[in-house]
């Protein structure tokens, strides 16, 4: 890696993040810039796409081509960008509200479509930017001013859903573990197809309890698998704090399909002749 032309700082812009001191997203920013340096891609050939929320501010903090779009639509936007510019390395950055709530349907179909890009979700189980509402991954008994007595709702299971929907690479990391997070992001980017990395990233302001994640997360005791059935069984017994790569699939990534018949301009024109 020492021979690389780029260093992590080459991917960082001079814009000061808006995040609260102690936010897990600082660590994610460090991990992705380190991963970019390890990947040794020129910043001009990388696109960082996001939606809305604290985590979605990340594109402007990098030196790549960035798109901070609207709430929940980052995967849809990135899909169009990637299929029309396959030469670019595309990272899609999201949060649990942006990615799993308003962007939930796009998540399912991005997994299905298996376009070669990497989806990184910073999950803090709360809406931070709008000041502390429960999110799809919030525990049912999380008691707060905005969810008195807890929501009582079953939390969204991102890894299960990604696996069931056809994502080709599924991993979970903890933001504080920069070394492993960096490594996993590199693996995710290098793996063909749609790669999904869920990063537990504490919100110290609205979820101070998440400071405890640092001591609670643990590396998964079993190796990654390419067998979806095994991966599914593992998730069923997961405590939500296992980190590491869970699944590395073998599906071929999205490619444009050209029907044989369509290869003949004359036949095609005849079909549409009116």
């Amino acid at each position: 890696m020492n021979a690389n032309a780029f260093k992590a700082k080459d991917y960082k812009s001079d814009v000061t993040p808006i995040w609260c001191p102690g936010c897990g997203d600082y660590h994610v920013l460090m991990s992705i810039t380190k991963a970019m340096a390890d990947l040794n891609r020129d910043p001009k050939d990388m696109a960082v796409i996001s939606g809305i929320g604290c985590s979605s501010r990340i594109p402007a903090y990098t030196n790549c081509y960035g798109f901070h779009g609207v709430h929940g639509r980052s995967l849809a936007l990135a899909s169009g960008l990637k299929v029309s510019r396959p030469d670019l390395t595309v990272l899609v950055m999201s949060g649990d509200g942006d990615g799993y709530s308003i962007g939930g349907n796009h998540f399912l179909h991005a997994c299905r479509r298996n376009i070669d890009m990497t989806y990184i979700v910073m999950d803090n189980r709360v809406y931070g930017m709008t000041k502390g509402q429960p999110s799809p991954t919030t525990e049912p008994d999380w008691d707060s001013a905005l969810s008195p007595g807890g929501t009582g709702l079953s939390p969204f299971q991102p890894l299960v859903i990604a696996l069931a929907s056809g994502a080709n690479f599924v991993a979970r990391e903890f933001s504080g573990d920069i070394k492993n997070t960096t490594k996993t992001i590199v693996e995710a980017v290098n793996h063909p197809g749609f790669s999904f990395v869920e990063i537990l990233s504490p919100c110290v302001t609205f979820r101070p309890d998440e400071r405890a994640w640092k001591g609670a997360v643990h590396r998964a005791s079993v190796d990654e698998t390419d067998d979806p059935a095994r991966a599914a069984r593992r998730i069923l017994t997961d405590d939500g704090l296992n980190t590491g790569i869970l699944y590395r699939g073998k599906r071929a990534p999205y490619q444009a399909h050209v029907k044989d018949e369509a290869g003949d301009a004359g036949i095609l024109d005849a079909r549409f002749k009116v």
Binding site: F67, A76, A256
Partner: protein, 608 residues
């Protein structure tokens, strides 16, 4: 009585039940006429059910000069099913012909036969349609083609051309199908040769055989697809919706073959988001939808305006609100197309008025979007999307993209994606270009693109002002005046498909010694206000016919110019009738000075 305006100007209406081959017969007629070198406009109406026995009508207008709509009266009605055709006898003009089955095998109730409904001034041609088909082929299935042959024989249309079209149409079927249909056609021609021709309908020779040589028959949607392809579209994302889906079907087949990308997305939000993403990445990208889809897309229209990303959205309107009338035409998504979204989000909206306009606007839309770094909406409607017209495309592709120019930076100069320039257009870089990386955002931003509300007013002004020169975009007709010059009694302002009926109204009124002019407005945002205002200054009355309830275009015009207008609106799901526009025109001429405020009338004509 109305006489044909040019040498040949004849309109056939073929009416039958689903399964009678009504649309197929119309299809052969319009393709044969186009091959002969005539200009053709055709529009089919069929029931919304995929399978059923509803009424089908195919109307085909054949002329040797460019026309812009169907005629108010048909010259020939061919009935393949009397129950369905009887209500349409009235649309046949005096001395026009009605062709029908005179050898019915079923007992009909009183008034059940079409002959009882034909006016004395109309010319009846009863003949044994079924018998001709059965004698020629052994089956009654070729009734439609036998009737078509009879019509062709009656008006001396060359059978050879029909033979050619029949062979093309059934090329994929067993040879016997072509042979049977050709025999049925010829038997029809022969039967017609034996009758005495009473009427004044005539199909002459096309003005120039060469005029038809390069003519291509297209639907509005087909023309949009062709324009996109000639403009080098690289990516298309869509979600199925009537009546826009046929654009997507063409893209699905053509784009991957030409190295482009096509995706059917999970919804319209994703379709336009992907289009925007591809546009941001430098690709020529488009999507197409109808009103309900556009409603979902407004969020991304706003982002496209804010992030200054070029892309194209074709919108084929249908009846609304909500799911509305999916298979009926309407012009009620104008407000949504022009204003839809949060904030002040001005974008470019083009509304072609005929099929050739669809082709030209679609061909130029990307260049316009790139020039002004903005979304461009191509606004049509079902009537325009699905109707057929002959178009003569230029021999040379005039829409091919020009090579992109990467912004040049001075030494030590910081790249500012949203630099405030005199024109309002800023240097735009795309991913992959060195030294020009930046992040765009849906948040208000400074010149670099960093989130900031410091320059909100200046940025709003930039986003609006940069579009204004588009009203004079080179090579694009954004508005055009027709009819009498100078002061006129009534001026009609029209947009979209309704302009065809408005122009037809003009031609009719000019024969009635009324001073009248019309203006078509193709660019609906930004509006060519100066030209519209100058036109209105010439008019004692201004009439704005359109297919929506509120008079959305009239509101827009009236608001932009501060001048009173008279609205004429209709939401029957059908195109406006020339007779209704004409009636309102006469009412206005008989009215004194224009009212101090705008007035609003609803056309009552209904045409199935």
């Amino acid at each position: 009585m109305e006489q044909p305006r040019v040498g040949t100007d004849i309109q056939f209406a073929i009416c039958g039940s689903a399964g009678d081959g009504t649309i197929a017969a119309g299809d052969i007629m319009k393709r044969a006429a186009a091959l002969m070198g005539f200009k053709v406009i055709a529009f089919d109406i069929y029931p919304p059910e995929i399978r059923g026995f509803g009424k089908c009508i195919s109307r085909i207008r054949i002329s040797d000069a460019q026309t812009y709509s169907l005629k108010r009266h048909s010259d020939v009605l061919i009935s393949l099913n009397d129950a369905h055709a009887i209500p349409h006898v009235g649309e046949v003009r005096d001395f026009g012909a009605v062709l029908f089955e005179d050898n019915s095998i079923a007992e009909l109730p009183e008034g059940g036969h079409i002959s009882a409904h034909i006016r004395a001034a109309q010319v009846p041609y009863g003949f044994g349609i079924r018998e001709i088909s059965e004698k020629a082929t052994g089956l009654a299935r070729s009734r439609n083609i036998a009737a078509l042959g009879y019509a062709a024989g009656l008006f001396n249309m060359p059978p050879g051309i029909f033979h050619q079209i029949i062979a093309e149409k059934f090329a994929k079927k067993p040879r016997a199908v072509t042979e049977d249909n050709t025999r049925a056609f010829d038997a029809g021609v022969e039967a017609a040769a034996r009758v005495f021709k009473l009427d004044d309908v005539s199909v002459g020779r096309p003005l120039s055989a060469a005029s038809g040589a390069d003519a291509v028959m297209m639907t509005g949607n087909g023309a949009i697809a062709r324009g996109f392809l000639e403009a080098g579209i690289q990516a298309y994302f869509g979600y199925p919706i009537t009546p826009a889906s046929s654009i997507m079907e063409r893209m699905a087949a053509a784009l991957p073959r030409e190295g482009g990308r096509f995706l059917q997305t999970e919804d319209e939000i994703s379709a336009i988001a992907a289009t925007l993403g591809a546009g941001y990445a430098g690709a020529r990208a488009a999507t197409a939808t109808s009103g309900p889809g556009l409603a979902l897309m407004t969020e991304m229209m706003g982002l496209g305006v804010m992030a200054e990303v070029p892309f194209v959205v074709a919108v084929s309107q249908r009846g609304g609100p909500s799911t509305g009338l999916p298979t009926k035409t309407e012009q009620s998504d104008l407000n949504l197309a022009v204003y839809g979204g949060s904030g002040d989000a001005q974008r470019i909206v083009l509304a072609p008025t005929n099929v050739e306009g669809c082709y030209r606007c679609a061909g130029m839309a990307f260049e316009i979007a790139e020039t002004y770094q903005t979304p461009v909406v191509l606004l049509v409607d079902l009537y325009l999307s699905n109707r057929f017209e002959t178009v003569i495309p230029p021999r040379k592709n005039i829409f091919a993209p020009k090579p992109r120019k990467t912004p040049k930076m001075g030494k030590g100069e910081e790249y500012q994606r949203f630099r405030l320039t005199e024109s309002g257009v800023s240097p735009r870089s795309i991913p992959g270009e060195a030294g020009l990386t930046h992040t765009v955002t849906g948040l208000e931003h400074d010149e670099i693109g960093h989130p900031s509300d410091r320059l909100h007013n200046e940025m709003n002004a930039k986003r609006h002002h940069k579009l204004l020169p588009a009203t004079h975009f080179p090579g694009l007709t954004t508005q055009k005046r027709f009819g009498d010059s100078g002061k006129v009694d009534v001026g009609l302002l029209g947009w979209g498909s309704t302009f065809g009926e408005i122009l037809e109204t003009l031609y009719t009124a000019q024969g009635q010694d009324i001073r009248v002019a019309v203006m078509k407005v193709v660019m609906l945002s930004p509006l060519p206000v100066d030209e519209i205002a100058a036109f209105m200054d010439d008019c004692t009355h201004v009439l704005v016919p359109e297919l929506n309830f509120e008079g959305q275009f009239a509101n827009m015009i009236s608001g932009a110019t501060g001048r009173p207008v008279t609205r004429l609106t209709q939401t029957t799901g059908a195109p406006m009738l020339v007779d209704d526009i004409l009636a309102e025109l006469h009412r206005l001429i008989d009215s004194p000075a224009p009212p101090p405020t705008s007035s609003h009338r609803t056309a009552e004509g209904v045409r199935a």
